[in-house]
Symmetry: C2
Subunit: 376 residues, 2 copies
Amino acid sequence: MSCDFSFEIHARDGKARHGTITMPRGEIRTPAFMPVGTAGTVKGLYMDQVRATGADIILGNTYHLMLRPGAERVAKLGGLHEMARWPFPILTDSGGFQVMSLSALRKLTEEGVTFQSHIDGSKHNLTPERSMEVQVLLDSNIIMQLDECIRLPAPDEEVARAMRLSYRWAERSKAAFERLVKPGEGRALFGIVQGGTNPLLRRESAELLTKLDLPGYALGGLAVGEPQHEMLATIEVTEPFLPSGKPRYLMGVGTPDDLIESIARGIDMFDCVMPTRAGRHGTAYTRHGKFNLKNARFAEDTRPLDETSDCSATRDYSRAYLHHLVKSDEMLGQMLLSWNNIGYYQRLMRKARAAIDAGRYADFVAETKEGWARGE
Amino acid sequence: MSCDFSFEIHARDGKARHGTITMPRGEIRTPAFMPVGTAGTVKGLYMDQVRATGADIILGNTYHLMLRPGAERVAKLGGLHEMARWPFPILTDSGGFQVMSLSALRKLTEEGVTFQSHIDGSKHNLTPERSMEVQVLLDSNIIMQLDECIRLPAPDEEVARAMRLSYRWAERSKAAFERLVKPGEGRALFGIVQGGTNPLLRRESAELLTKLDLPGYALGGLAVGEPQHEMLATIEVTEPFLPSGKPRYLMGVGTPDDLIESIARGIDMFDCVMPTRAGRHGTAYTRHGKFNLKNARFAEDTRPLDETSDCSATRDYSRAYLHHLVKSDEMLGQMLLSWNNIGYYQRLMRKARAAIDAGRYADFVAETKEGWARGE
């Protein structure tokens, strides 16, 4: 435990855990959902709103920010917290995932990956060392190792190769992190367990990374289109090999159902674009389930999305008005639904933590799913 | 003077006037700028923000709202104030201007105009009587007569024909308004002076309308592409024929410069999409002039748009961050610039009122223009 990062578990219920990560920029209550601020903004929300929903930490995308406005420029502007007016913890990914999914002319070697920007075609390279440097320039607090994310399904030998390369990159990421970062800067490095859906490879990856004694571990390579049961099964076979006293972060996940099922299997942290992306496309997540506000059944529904919420977007605007805004393609519709969705995700995390404290997490999951199924 | 509408002038400086319109839903300080909420939302802003910038009244577009969600539906949802969460005064236009500029297959007769919706091709008709009915269904407070807006330049006989038709529609609008509206409902009807840039026709229109003894008068048919000097000249030749104790509303105007020049010529009210539209396109209006935030010179400019402003959008975000958001096409950039612009327009009105009170309106105009020219 250092002043930069500590993790305390307050309560357990089955595999589910309620904890707190403490960092100089603030506490992160877990299970935690991290809203995604891809390019230095959680799309459609003011940071005050993000904070008021209960978010303790947000995520920034290294790939996007290194291309625009550029890591060195973000540093000149005082770092991401200062630039985007979010003084609380920030986690950045390594850039690896988006290099694989967005950039052109990728070339991967043992050394790292070279690629062309999807924005202007400019050439860049990302090595474990450069990824650490970029994340420090961004002033990230939780820094992710560079890993290789492959497309699934893939043959086992390909999955194994990428996992082992990712491990070697973890070693190099750790060495670079230790060179670049001084204690007291409020930064921590997380490793990423890979291995696809193969239990043996996941175990090997977890055991290798555990030896690096990093402050936290992520599960990567999931939420890439596989069925939910495969994702949950992979969590189940990996979790026993992760250190129980450190936070586990399931990258890029997911739906509210994914979240509560993953928490039951020992996951502590999540990030996903879903709440804001769905909000921009007219979808509201609520305790009554998922609403498509384009649907004509809302045209004269004067009820709010949920009158019991403490989030203004959820409580103060009629479904009829939201329907009208979405149908009219008005920015306010996207703003309100994104805000509602981030608010709902945070409310779900708050309730999950309380249920773990009360030793009734399984009941909470059942009740939550009943609410979604019942609708209203 | 009734409980529904009264206008008091507190101070005059040359032709410029500082006044207050009092209506049951609130006071409107004049000179007043009315943010445009076309479809029941001031694009990109929360109503709380609109209010906090100092807006006393917003404008709704009858054409858009009658097509979507529909006037009868807005009434079912409790009216525009209730639907959009704006409890203060609302002015609605008559629908005539947008019928002419947006709809298809228009057919204009003495009776009114039939047209097809630009959204779904559905057929509608708008008569003076239907326009009054629609505006009452929307729960408008300041209701505009139906008028015919022609494209300029046009031959004098065409301008005269449209102006006289508009006058007959004013008579019918007034009769319909009086049938539909009971005293105490908090509504008032404004007439619209037409006549293009022809002084004699403007005078004829103003004199005809004055006889109807309406609580306020608008100047229509301006800000449709003519040079500023023509618009100002038309205000100058019309103003002497408008009742001095009633508010004058210059429809659809304009730039900050248009506003302060028009106030000097006796105008009390304005509306324009410019601040929000420009904001969505990366332009900020400030006391230092108009900034195109796409410009690379802002990329590392850590100053806010104006550190002396009390508007968060203007004071709390760096130009570099705004530049980044605009370049990245992020919603927050549009939100912040729209908010800044509405804030700037309201600040300009506040300063104009204070300058009129102090008898230094001409100095205020000169200083304001110097600030724009100086830049920063």
